[in-house]
Symmetry: C2
Amino acid sequence: MDILNKKVGVLGGGQLGRMLFESAHRLNIDLTIVDPQTDSPAKQLSNQKHIDKDFKDREAIFELSKRVNVITAEIEHVDTKALTEIVERQMIQNEISKSNLRDGKEHYANHEDHTMVLPSPKTIQVIQDKYIQHKVLKEKGVKVAEFEYCQDYSNAVEIGSRFSYPLLLKARRNAYDGRGNVFVNSENELRDAWDKLSSNIIPSPDNSVEDSGIYAEKLVKFTKELAVIVVKGIDDQIICYPVVETVQSNNICNLVLAPAPVNGITCEKAEELACLAVKAITSVPNTISIELNNGEKKDIDVVSKCAGVFGVELFLLENGEIIVNEIAPRPHNSGHYTIEACDTSQYENHLRSILGLPLGSTKLKVNYAAMINILGLPTSVCGSTDGMGLIKSIVNDTLLVPGSTVHMYGKKEAKVARKMGHVTVVANSPVEMNRRIQAIMHIVSGENHLANNSEKISKILCGSDETVYRPYKPIPLVGIIMGSDSDLPVMKSAADQLKSFGVPFELTIVSAHRTPERMVEYAKTAKKRGLKVIIAGAGGAAHLPGMVAALTSLPVIGVPVKGRCLDGVDSLYSIVQMPRGIPVATVAINNADNAGLLAVRILGGTFDLYSDRMLGYLDKIRLEVEGKIEKLDSVGYENY
Amino acid sequence: MDILNKKVGVLGGGQLGRMLFESAHRLNIDLTIVDPQTDSPAKQLSNQKHIDKDFKDREAIFELSKRVNVITAEIEHVDTKALTEIVERQMIQNEISKSNLRDGKEHYANHEDHTMVLPSPKTIQVIQDKYIQHKVLKEKGVKVAEFEYCQDYSNAVEIGSRFSYPLLLKARRNAYDGRGNVFVNSENELRDAWDKLSSNIIPSPDNSVEDSGIYAEKLVKFTKELAVIVVKGIDDQIICYPVVETVQSNNICNLVLAPAPVNGITCEKAEELACLAVKAITSVPNTISIELNNGEKKDIDVVSKCAGVFGVELFLLENGEIIVNEIAPRPHNSGHYTIEACDTSQYENHLRSILGLPLGSTKLKVNYAAMINILGLPTSVCGSTDGMGLIKSIVNDTLLVPGSTVHMYGKKEAKVARKMGHVTVVANSPVEMNRRIQAIMHIVSGENHLANNSEKISKILCGSDETVYRPYKPIPLVGIIMGSDSDLPVMKSAADQLKSFGVPFELTIVSAHRTPERMVEYAKTAKKRGLKVIIAGAGGAAHLPGMVAALTSLPVIGVPVKGRCLDGVDSLYSIVQMPRGIPVATVAINNADNAGLLAVRILGGTFDLYSDRMLGYLDKIRLEVEGKIEKLDSVGYENY
């Protein structure tokens, strides 16, 4: 059967379904939504007939299975029992028809013969129960915070004394956006926390087990929250998007930064861990035993195929370690930015993966991107305006920010903290990225509407560099290194220049002769960590710039530092006379200013802003000389 | 009235309407489509009620005007008479109610009081008649090919003898995708051409005028076809997207390259001309005289407001001049690429402009983008497959190309040459861009399907650099200059290195002392023309690198060329010892190889491919030395 003729059914018709529909339309893929709301965000995007029933409705799920070839979900709180039955029934049917074949030839069950459920019901089931999810991850060697199931309150007290406070009490199921998590500061608070959580526990779907529905988790001290969107192909291929930082407020993710402003080696570790986690969660065995018509017994693996997009939330701990917080078996809020910023969006890749199409490139196609949620605001912020009026005013203001794309979800009412839409904003340079984030954060907070001050937005957008790097600190683009602190008086002018151009940089001591291994490490990791240029200063034998250049593919700028003899010519020759194959961009003796300026010119090729600022700088120094000419003319050379 | 509450009506429901709908959904803007096909490409994207009538149907247009606040069109062949009536009627109504006001206060007609038609009916009318369109452009000083209206055949003969052959005979109205244009090689062919064209002429809407419907156009020799998408705001703001090259085949645009591989100064001229053309075409006066109830006569300007997106097609002539070919008053095929490649898509900007919202940034957010149409193919190519089957196979194969996004239009039948969809492909480097274009052109031609050879695609994608720059030649990224041809033997190694890394470059002679003005011109235009790095070689007093650096914001790499005396130390000092403010990245004496390699390292910051290739190069030179070590070990130093 032609892949692009396959029909897809989606459980849930919210904003994720809506964005999935955008991708489906572009590929002419037929999508059927199951959602009780006839005008749900996803359904607004098509003139087809959908199923207007609850996506947990057993009958609706079976109806859907008759209409489509693949069932997927845009929410994890689905009826996995019904989904499992669909898969099992059809696999049994396949086996029986196989065993009934008269010609004796084996008829391999084709995955296209039955309605597939992707990700597999088993994987969704494991993820639904966060306790089981963490257990599976831990068993497969994926680092998670320490956790333990609480049979009852007294068990929780005992675990509390072992874990020490503060700790987290968590509901195993139906928890999202912070709901179902209680922060417990001390044993005194445990009783209340337990009762609060218990009263909202929905009994386990498997009623035979006595289950408190609660587990305890040790509090981890993290410095940042990260997230990775992982794509699992139907053929075991696993790829992932760049790691992002997610900044939460009141348990709702409200700012996503791509790429995460974290050094590239940490990013690599985070991406590896996320892929490992998805591999673990999608390979939980699920075998059923059936008896065929001929009496033969047979084990069938019902989850050998699992595919889809997964959102993996991570914690970056103080010690640099990364652990998994939790996984969502669907496109994720932290991956909205991929629509504008990556080669292929998470939504298209979800469709590609569940349909067995080639997976799309996950590369960032822009330098910087951020995503900010537009939430319903409380009446204290709305003022006299109604909720929707305020949201519209926010959308209007957001259009003033260059590089921004607004996605409204078509929801009719703006309840407090409800996700009404989001903005993705892209930027070419870290300075612009930061200003644009500041402007949008200001707008979505509703403050701008209250102040009724549109000048404020342009003020932020043209803001001085002093306000730069307030919400986020980008990673350094230039590394300034020198052999000794005695070179600092010369080398600091490079730093001053970079600062004045708004270029993020790092400065440290790396000596070719006294810390050779540190030098190798520094040079070899420089590119991965995110550096684009290295400025190296050295005097005398001056090996540092050339040795660093030999160990990296980055451009290295060498500053010959003048020593006690030979007027710096020794340093100059050592740095500039590199052998064929390894260039060092050498500047004048002791002229670290020029090294900084050369770095800005180099960065100008990638980041337009620095190139523009360099033009401004050339103008400035021309005007300085013109000022001197004027003075010379007016006072005369004798009095100058 | 809140802008985001305004309703928009669209005449036509094809692919342009479909893509307009994508943008409308994201902003929660209500769109009503007028199209006879109930399941037209645009209508498939919404669960709202549309008007299932022909978009030229007078009644349908009046019905629409009652339902929406702004009417726009996704096709220019609309009933401008009906549209004009809507605008006129309502403006007259406004004037009358104003003059009837009892309190004597003037009540300014608010543009929100009536249904606006944007772009204005007058502008659409002018564009519909290509002869009038060209006349208006010419009158406003916008360069177009020489043209003249043909009253009848004998007039055409006379014009032909003046214009000389070959020339073009063109239908004034209802021409698109090459239909309505006839190429006439000589007077012998004129009769047939005239008859062919005449038989298809639709009479002028204004029947009072005797009109042949035909005009003649002098054939211009162009080297490239360019296009610019211009956005005209309701407040006279005019902005435009970067100029693109459009490559046509059989009169249908089938490849769009963004940015146009043309030097930046030409691009600037093209963009200026396009904006001027739109300004001309949107400011044709259209005043009506009415008599108010109180007997007062009044002139009302009915087209003072015109807004929307315009596609301007241009010719780049052999002499470097640029002229306008024609204008479309709507989003344009040459602007599809903006969805993936620019800060704001042409579709969103069309909505923003007609609704009076702030216009979005038109900047390219990726390094390179291309758009390729997916057309219905003739049965000779389809082979045994049906048309739609082949299209699906093409879509499937296209997903193998990284950076590609497919847009299918939801058309049910694949007629020959019908626009079924398009692919936008983005790339980081010119090498990747070129390979991806080659792969997609191969796929959409149907050849790959016929050959049933998926290996061919990966072969193209990893192709050797020899096949690079076949469909398009990117503009140079590096400029190599030297003071004299005597420097060439040294400087050519820089060129060789760039070639081996696949970096597009230019090489020429620029002398600081013998061609000082050429040097100033070269340096000052370098960035605009598209260069990212300049390599300058010079000997002796060696002023070239430093002087060039003083005249550009680009990084300049200086190569000290060894002269007859002083061993090149004179050149080295002249180049490296630049004053504070103007750096030159100096490499070793005579080491132009290293200059080339440094340029590659610098470009690696913007184009990942060059950075990857630099890592490969470092590996290669390491292995070369290891080979020598092995040889030394095996043959001994005496025999080496």
